[in-house]
């Protein structure tokens, strides 16, 4: 009886959240799987069934989609590698118990608390070619030749946007890794030192294996975030110059809201969803290891 009552109580408390989740998350996903088979302007109740035409167009007749896809992968690689590497590096240094480490933890974590739009606008000003901090600093130290129109040149626009995101996300992952590092017993490092291991060996044979689950979770999470990236790209460049910073999220947005092709945009969204699902599952499978107990 008690178990039954407990079950009823659990369901009662979960019910409102489940309702919200169903309405605002599950229903739109299922509806997207329906709309992707239609041609729809998004401005009337009339939708024309087109079968798989949206997907055929996507795979055979939309070079912009594939260009955006390629650029999305580029963002993914740059952001994932740089963010996780820097986060792990900072976490390792900050966990040494050095002076000012708490201060640096706060400094590095603070950007992740800011609104992503506010950060994007801030960096637009930093990158501003005439009065921006970056070019002004370069001119000040005599590196005039290094100044660029950061967000308007094809070679620098995407890395500039990526750097903004890395700046914003490093702190969050650093804190995640710090909590992982703090769980590793100090005795293991002492034993390694006694056995003659240097810092790099300690890092490779103790830190990484014992941090593996944390690293795995962080990697999957950043993968999903980077794939879906929208606000910084849209605010900073809107895909410009000449679509060189365009990723899937901004292209899908433009297809729906600017070109009024909601059916086609939804089809792209479905492909993006399936791709993220596959890559997440693959990543989890490939990075699976036996858990190291200590």
């Amino acid at each position: 009886m008690l178990k039954k009552e407990k079950t009823v109580l659990t369901i009662t408390f979960l019910f409102p959240a489940l309702c919200m989740y169903s309405v605002f998350v599950l229903y739109p996903i299922f509806r997207a799987f329906y709309i992707c088979f239609f041609k729809w302007s998004g401005l009337s109740a009339n939708m024309t069934f087109v079968g798989f035409n949206n997907f055929i167009k996507l795979f055979t007749n939309d070079p912009i989609f594939w260009m955006s896809f390629k650029q999305t992968l580029l963002y993914l690689v740059i952001i994932c590698v740089a963010t996780l590497f820097l986060a792990l590096l900072f976490a390792t240094v900050v966990s040494q118990g050095l002076k000012w480490s708490k201060f640096f933890q706060i400094i590095f974590f603070w950007p992740s608390l800011l609104s992503i739009v506010a950060v994007s606008v801030l960096w637009i000003f930093i990158y501003s070619p005439r009065l921006g901090v970056l070019n002004s600093l370069l001119r000040l130290i005599g590196l005039d030749g290094w100044t660029r129109i950061w967000l308007a040149e094809k070679g620098t626009a995407l890395p500039s946007v990526a750097f903004t995101i890395i700046w914003m996300w490093v702190g969050f992952y650093m804190v995640l890794f710090i909590s992982g590092l703090q769980k590793i017993p100090e005795e293991l490092y002492e034993a390694a030192r006694i056995d003659g291991a240097n810092s790099l060996q300690s890092f490779r044979y103790i830190t990484v294996p014992l941090m593996w689950e944390t690293l795995r979770v962080a990697f999957v999470y950043i993968l999903i975030q980077a794939f879906k990236l929208f606000a910084p790209v849209y605010v900073m460049t809107q895909g410009a110059p000449d679509r060189t910073t365009e990723n899937l999220a901004t292209y899908i947005y433009k297809t729906a809201f600017h070109y009024n092709e909601w059916g086609y945009a939804t089809a792209m969204g479905v492909i993006m969803f399936l791709f993220i699902l596959c890559i997440t599952m693959m990543t989890r499978r490939l990075t699976k290891r036996q858990t190291v107990q200590y």
């Binding site: 009337s44 005439r130 950061w150 000449d242």
Partner: protein, 432 residues
């Protein structure tokens, strides 16, 4: 309870007034108006317009609301069929809605008397202003304003160096050379904002080849987007950049920064539109003087003015579309436009006596330049019809000005996109 009356009486009064207000509300005709609050600065001006309209029409209640992104709220309502009566959106695809028969036609209303004057409503508009709201020869939309693209120049600087307003394109190029020789950058341009570059290019196309060249391109006639006129315009634009007449950092500047460069005298001119004075009013130095001219042609001064337009529309399916259209007639009446100018410095598409209203010399110079040109055309309409063309034209121009592609390659890209649209039967085609 001794003091029951002290509870019952207020309760009865409350019920009475509630019923009374419900009755009063239901006995009034209501219209719903949704506005994009960007151009005039907030909702307050429009609330005032609504209240003034209600004073003239005591049996009408205007439910007016707005924000910078009304489209997000309008879209699901349009799908549901539950639309406001009158709208002033920023990015909503009004063309598709008109094509689907969802927009109220205003032709008949234009032949009625305007509010507060003896003239017909269509006669109070600036010459050519209504053209920008016509589609398939029917009046579906009213332009919120008809601000024209042109050149704002630093009058004090011009007077100081004895520079004259150029009367032909070649004079403009020579002027730029003279300005540059003085160590001043001639032109500021908002290169980081795609539609600013696209508008400057369109302006140059019309100055080079006439409105007809742009009309043909808008109608997607084959070979127009990479015609000799378009190519010449592209080459001229590129030439301005190559010769250092446009700020080298222009491609990284938005309109606020480029306009600031101009008002702080870092450049002699800015290629923008006549709203600059109102937009930058809080930062323009007190002693700064500017005037306006349109892009001259090869033969002489401009013969047409390219108007930037945001459009008002009335929904056919609104609960009170006729009244909604009448509200629009009031909004764009001389009386209301004069009031909006006096209070909010807003210049709409109605011809109002700016001199009598104490308009600035800049505004008067802009108004006179447009009047002298005679003809007005919409610099934006074709790009509202075909948003992918808008994007491709902007992208091609950006790459050209970044010196990544040649003018020939730029116009060929434009023609390729025009052809793709022309050949795509799924895309609705419009004609000017």
């Amino acid at each position: 309870m001794k003091n029951r009356k002290y509870i019952i009486i207020p309760l009865l009064l409350m019920v009475f007034f509630t019923i009374n207000s419900i009755y009063a509300r239901n006995s009034k005709e209501t219209i719903e108006v949704a506005v994009f609050t960007g151009p005039v600065g907030g909702l307050e001006p429009w609330l005032e317009v609504a209240r003034n309209y209600e004073k003239l029409n005591p049996n009408i209640e205007v439910n007016i609301w707005g924000n910078p992104s009304i489209e997000d709220q309008l879209r699901p309502r349009i799908v549901r069929g539950d639309v406001p009566d009158t709208v002033f959106p920023r990015t909503l695809d009004l063309m598709t809605l008109a094509n689907e028969g969802k927009i109220y036609q205003l032709d008949e209303l234009l032949t009625e008397k305007a509010y507060g004057v003896e003239q017909n409503w269509e006669d109070v508009f600036k010459p050519g202003a209504l053209n920008v709201g016509r589609l398939d020869d029917k009046q579906y939309f009213i332009p919120n304003a008809v601000n024209c693209v042109g050149w704002c120049y630093n009058k004090k600087m011009f007077d100081q160096y004895g520079w004259d307003v150029p009367q032909t394109w070649h004079e403009l190029e020579r002027l730029c050379a003279e300005i540059k020789n003085k160590g001043i950058v001639p032109i500021a341009l908002a290169g980081n904002v795609p539609w600013y570059v696209r508008r400057s290019f369109t302006d140059l196309v019309v100055a080079t080849g006439g409105v007809d060249a742009f009309t043909k391109a808008s109608n997607l006639e084959p070979g127009t987007w990479n015609s000799p006129v378009f190519l010449k315009a592209a080459q001229r634009l590129r030439n301005l950049m190559d010769k250092g007449y446009i700020q080298p950092e222009a491609m990284g500047m938005n309109h606020t920064i480029s306009q600031s460069e101009f008002v702080f005298s870092n450049t002699a001119m800015v290629w923008v539109n006549e709203t600059l004075e109102r937009e930058m009013r809080d930062v323009i130095p007190e002693d700064f003087e500017m005037r306006f001219f349109l892009t001259p042609t090869d033969e002489g001064p401009a013969k047409s003015a390219g108007a930037i337009t945001l459009l008002w529309a009335v929904f056919e399916e609104g609960n009170n579309s006729q009244r909604g259209a009448d509200f629009l007639k009031y909004v764009f009446s001389p009386e209301n436009m004069i009031n909006m100018y006096k209070k909010y410095n807003f210049v709409g598409p109605i011809d109002i006596p700016l001199e009598e209203l104490g308009a600035s010399d800049f505004l008067l110079s802009a108004r006179n330049a447009v009047k002298e040109a005679g003809e007005m055309y919409s610099i934006d309409l074709v790009f509202k019809w075909y948003p992918t063309l808008d994007e491709e034209v902007a992208n091609a121009l950006t790459s050209m000005l970044n010196k990544e592609i040649s003018p020939e390659e730029a116009v060929n890209r434009m023609e390729a996109e025009a052809e793709r649209i022309r050949n795509n039967e799924d895309i609705i085609k419009y004609k000017l």
